[in-house]
Amino acid sequence: MPRRALAAAAVALVLPLSACGSGGDDSGPTDASGKIEGDITFQTWNLRANFKPYFEGLVADFEKKYPGTRVKWIDQPAEGYPDKISADAAGGTLPDVVNVSPDLVAPLAKAGMALDLDKAAGKYKSEYLSGAWASHQVPGMSGTYAFPWYLNTGPLFYNKSLFTRAGLDPSSPPKTYGDLFADALRMAKKSDGKVATLANVPTIEDFGRYGVQLMNKEGTGFAFNDAKGIELLTEYKQLYDAKALDPQALTATPESSGRKFLTEAVAMNPGSALDLGNFKKQAPDLYKNIGITDQITSTGHVNMYVMGVMVNSRTAHTPAAVAFAHFVTDAHNQMSFAKKVAIFPSTAGSLDDPYFTKEDGTDETRVRIAAAKSLKNAVNYTPVLFSDQMKTALRNEVAKALQGKQSPKAALDNAVKACDQLLKQQG
């Protein structure tokens, strides 16, 4: 019996080791030219609650167009979505078609789990905005690993009442970083440190929008510790010391800073056209005083967020999966989706539709038109290789600089070193 127990223990030890090896790079099928048929699964990211009829209609339309196909739509909650994908990917149960963001695509592409659409569906490339198509390319790899889906960007919201109380002109919000920092310091001084203007520490997008070079040209290392990066962090340090940056910014999340803006504890917050509805419903007093201004950027390009639809390279029905991913993201369906929610299509020419160009006097339309206009040359400043661990490393070093525990230069040098190390470990 002890010998058998020993054997069982040895098997238990060896089993996990059997997973060790070189794997992870088998690229799977790339041919999407066969007959479009079979059962596929399609996973979205927290969209069922608000858009169930839209997606059910989409699936029904696809199945009608391609008899012999069946699409099973599954939706995952927003919280922990990357963890859900990683569990599925590691367990070999990744759905055939998956809603992803560029930073999720990069590790999946590196592990050989995302289909290269340049090879499998290159004929559709011209249907999309070129910047959007490129957003799912991974430095160091050739190919494009997801169809671009919807885009989003947003203005900067500000609280006119708090501006007035601080002696600032509510009809003249800051347009440049210089204006922003000056107004923030004035507001903090006037309110004796009780009202902050911003509630978040600078993120990688902020560095990008400020004009900092984020990565080297080859995409093999980070470079945001340049003079411009140090300048931005030094400005934020001044804001933090003057309480123009909320003291809880060091531990804030986008949700918590949004709440601070709703409760009028901070005067400015980035957002999207979606937020206007929230303000109206959750904070009517704030809504009456809401000011809307353009995103501040030193590069002339605002930041945009890109969503994509990836095809699992190990799907058993590549033609059907590619056809469905294209169907979801084609101009007609993106336009229908954009009319249901404040997002923007990534298909070429769609942003010229009167829906995105014609004023009707409402705030919602004004924000939509301004956003659509800025999207034409917007940039996704978050590098696709910038992982969650890197975000934490940058955030921690920035916090140390703001607290005065190290200089802005040392903080950014350390952050770049940590991110480069993590990049190396990603392989």
Binding site: A12, C20, L104, P107, P247, Q248, T392, R395, L422, Q425
Partner: protein, 295 residues
Amino acid sequence: MAGVSRVRRQLPTSPWLFAAPGLLITGAFVLYPFVSTVVNSFTDRRTLIPGHFVGLANFRELLHDDMFWTGLRNSTLYIVGVVPALVILPLLLALLVQKNIPGITFFRSAFYTPVVASVVVVGLIWVWLLDERGLVNSLLRTVGIGRVGFLSDQWLLLLSAMAVTVWKGLGYYMIIYLAALANVPRELHEAAAVDGAGPVRRFLTVTVPAVRSTMVLVAALSSVAAFKVFSEVYLMAGPSGGPAGEDTTLVMLVQRTGTGLTGRVGYASALSVVVFVVTVALMLLVLRADRREEP
């Protein structure tokens, strides 16, 4: 007797058949993940990439990882801050609610309520209370004290999380003490009272020795739980572990390092092995101290 022996001879495997479901479940959900974690700790495995055997490289790396030392420091501080409070306060609470007086059930239930509340809800409520604009700061302002950065100062944040852990754990350990107190012979108290001992002396000379084993059990349980703390600190300090990650605990570091599509499963496993070794050492230490003090 002969019949029983015959049955035993005829069915030598029957005990194993009865035990099989339990053994299978334990093997699949306890033993296998544990062994897998130990094996992974010697590899450079990542979420999507199986990795290779790297020997002790992960353990060597964590010795040079500042975040590991920060996590170890905070997890250890958590034991120091939480365990004495969770050994003493529930005992005092149990003494208060031990007596059968009208309405005492209400108090017992009230003290137990935080135990059954979800830790996420508890964490969120305390975050609202301790926010710069929360109730606690409003009260402090009304008595002339300025805003206190419970959620923005590194040490206050850790203390706040400890307070929540103690608040949430009081009722649980109170129940354990109530059971122990019920077994203390009343005659001992009466004899001590006849000898002129007051309530404090009776507590120290009768109650404490009688519940000493329970105190050791509470110390062991609470120190292991404190060393493995995650939820309270995560909810109050945020996913980055407080300002500059200074409030990160070891288990938070395991979560942050090992999850997501780019998670370093091998390194996170090495951290988990360290947590396991320390918790086992803690248990042994407490139990050994108990044995040494046995009369």
